[in-house]
Symmetry: C2
Subunit: 308 residues, 2 copies
């Protein structure tokens, strides 16, 4: 089954178009975890892994996918990278679809290397080595098709998927992405068209391609417009919760069947234990339960808004 169909199947099974962002920073960890480890990159990497594993244990039956933001692991050096691989492995073992949020992009020969690192294979003599715990990786389109093609080839070969940045959720995303071209279209619309075309060969049985797109929840008009413009492109939608995106905005990224997107939440799920909503009900030690409670609340809020 192609990657996007696997993801859609999991979303249907859990009736929940949510992906949990596993992007913890040291300061976000509860004291009950922090105090068990040394205050060094090695110790923090271990603390983060335990934190992630506890979260996964508490939500893997209700959330279909985990997105692991590699920046927060790279910043801890080698021990951090080990925690990244272990986190992907653990989420995969628990039945989740795993997305590496790496936003890689480079010239063709280098993009081949990146693709091998995440969704493809590295050939050494007659053996192939790869990371079987990652299903999707995010990709930056600034270099054009050369930089994307190696990823698409690996999507075909290994039944994997990619999310290409189209319209990002950050405040300055418009600085480049919203500029208008001579033909009256914006850069993000233009990239959107490219992505829709690049993905044509990988459209699966649900009508969506494994070559998918990142479109932020923080710009609901554009999200709605791109949903119409890119009928075969599945959306990874960041920006819900801490970044300000609301459920009714996000519903605009979905089709009439309530499909077509998955919504990322990182801080609002990871740090539920210290949120105004849950901190009275759950202690620090119960951080996993707080995340579970928030995951259920979020699921119900989102499915309510999408199915309206």
């Amino acid at each position: 089954m192609n990657a996007i169909d696997q993801l859609i199947s999991k979303i249907k099974e859990k009736n929940n178009p949510t992906v949990i962002g596993l992007d913890p920073k040291y300061d976000q960890l509860p004291n009950c975890i922090k105090e068990k480890y040394e205050k060094t990159p090695e110790g923090v990497a271990k603390a983060i892994l335990e934190f992630n594993q506890t979260l996964v244990d508490n939500i893997c039956d209700i959330i279909p996918a985990a997105k692991v933001q590699i920046a927060f692991y790279e910043m801890l050096g080698l021990p951090g990278m080990q925690a990244f691989y272990e986190t992907c492995k653990y989420a995969k073992q628990k039945g989740m679809i795993v997305m590496a949020d790496a936003k890689r992009g480079d010239i063709g020969s280098t993009a081949e290397g990146y693709s091998s690192a995440f969704i493809g294979k590295t050939k050494i003599e007659d053996s192939l080595y790869g990371n079987d715990n990652i299903d999707f990786v995010t990709v930056n389109p600034y270099l054009g098709i050369d930089g994307v093609k190696p990823f698409i080839e690996d999507c075909k070969k290994y039944h994997k998927g990619i999310f290409i940045l189209v319209k990002t959720s950050n405040p300055s995303s418009g600085e480049l992405q919203d500029l208008k071209l001579e033909n009256g279209r914006t850069i993000y619309e233009t990239v959107g068209n490219l992505v829709e075309n690049w993905g044509a060969e990988l459209v699966g049985e649900n009508g969506y391609s494994s070559v998918a797109a990142v479109v932020g929840a923080t710009y609901p008009e554009q999200l709605n417009q791109l949903r119409t413009q890119m009928p075969h492109t599945f959306f990874l939608i960041p920006g819900y919760g801490a970044q300000g995106g609301k459920a009714e905005d996000i519903a605009l990224g979905f089709d009439q069947n309530g499909l077509g997107g998955i919504i990322n939440a990182s801080r609002s799920l990871m740090c539920a234990y210290k949120s105004d909503r849950w901190k009275e009900q759950f202690s620090d030690q119960e951080f996993g339960k707080a995340t579970r409670a928030e995951a259920i609340r979020m699921r119900d809020e989102l499915t309510g808004a999408i199915q309206k």
Copy 2:
């Protein structure tokens, strides 16, 4: 001293505006290295490190800087990442300026993580941890200033530098970068202007900023145009040699003092031992000497063209 002044000072010292790309793939290694290690990611990572160290030993007195392309290390997993860090460390110890070619870019809070990983510091309680062996990192501008600012802050704090993608060297770079906006300017010109502005506060004593740009040698007209348009922006110029850029083209990226850029060569230097030019003169075992011979030839060719 700010990072770009350190780089320019090294370039002047060696009279050589070259950066060696240390981006080896397994297939490019000479047999005398390959046969010493196991045919596994661990073995290949060690082989690559030995290869890099030998190259560095052979050129560190004539080439001022090394650019380490992280994709080729990530594709070997954790052992590969270890070889990446060790390669940076070795080149730095040998007095070279070290550039991590990572092309990272993300929303603000994530870009902070990436910046900490390469040129900044990671704070754990009251301690700061960082990679002191990296001077520059490459950055992707697609997310706008939010995604670049954390890197610029670290440039200020820690005397480091960044190269932001403006016009890349690959065949499809124009697919997005050459599109014309309503105002008649291309996307790459627009990014060029942004980079020139973003770097204003970090201009050093040579008139160039530590916020620098990547501009490919394979598009000489654009290189020339950007040199005029971006008078305070130093250029990292890939595309020489294997990718097709010629010395006389590259000269267009330099100012009237013969400054303003550094030219990357990866394959043509790394694989000199099996090039038509040097394979008769040097055996496989002498791969380091072949790279040195090619480095001297390249230096003389480039300085000849630039100083014309």
